[in-house]
Symmetry: C2
DNA sequence: CTAGGTGCAAACAATTTGCTGCTCA
DNA sequence: TGAGCAGCAAATTGTTTGCACCTAG
């Protein structure tokens, strides 16, 4: 609500994210290079973007940053469990940070403007486990994307 | 259970599918060419396959069948609402027939052997509508994929 | 005939990799 | 010094399209 709260809250989260990245990289004997941290930072500020968009954003802070570096960094962060990659309809892979490892959320995508809203719902997750169980599957993960028209796009029509 | 039953059942479904394809193509002023019907048939017998696999399968029946023809036929059938295209983790698009237009089902994918089991669950769908409503979205469609280890792969370990 | 359909091969676009030089422990 | 890292450019992969030939109405 109040500017200071939001700011300090955002800052806090970003620091937590940053240290998580550094720590996790160190654990895997990977160097927390400026480029990698820049990619991680960009990812923090711009969720659900594809490789190209992330590269564009990051380039504003460091114009020499290469495309392959962003690519390899994303793969690296993904392998470390720090980011998730998903694919909504349009042909490109989109990345988002995975701030709290255990937490899983799903997506609702507006087919009008492409806006992505995140949500989670324990009841549905419980039912998913039931379904898996009924088929004898050992559930490891899931994805659920809801497509629809957001309020703003509904009004615009 | 008994061979005859299964066979006749399968045959019945296939005929229904085939006539639906022919009928739907006719309605859109598209010709039910042998190649298109072959693709439709292949699709019926081999669900959740990608373009390349479908092409391989179809080629057994008609070695002259071109890749582009399979591609264009799939797009055509998709536009007619006869097939659905989805994308599970691996980089390729997979196709499946959409026998009963109104019916929607979801997928459970074995991360061990890639086997795909279809299911549907009304309760979850109801909750999805609730979630969308809560965010002011007008829900148009959804996808839900559960990933896990199938009973067979669990035993193998 | 002629519109639509096919197969081939080439074009595309997103992603992935090889390589060379550089940097930091 | 040397293992890991960055940037460039080329290779790869999945998908899409242009074009010339063909076939059924």
């Amino acid at each position: 609500m109040r500017g200071t709260d939001v700011t300090s809250q955002a800052k806090l989260d970003f620091d937590a994210w940053r240290s998580r990245v550094v720590e996790r990289l160190a654990r895997d004997h990977q160097r927390p290079t400026p480029q990698r941290l820049l990619v991680a930072e960009t990812l923090f500020h711009h969720g659900h973007q594809n490789l190209d968009e992330l590269h564009q954003h990051a380039r504003r802070a460091d114009p020499t940053l290469g495309y392959a570096t962003v690519y390899r960094t994303l793969k690296l962060l993904e392998k470390c469990g720090l980011v998730n990659c998903s694919n909504f309809g349009d042909g490109t892979a989109r990345y988002e940070i995975n701030l709290h490892a255990a937490e899983h959320h799903d997506h609702m995508i507006c087919t009008g403007c492409g806006r992505i809203v995140e949500f989670e719902n324990d009841a549905i997750e419980a039912m998913q486990r039931q379904i898996a169980l009924a088929h004898g599957f050992e559930l490891t993960s899931h994805r659920m994307d809801l497509y629809g028209v957001c309020p703003r796009c509904q009004r615009r029509k």
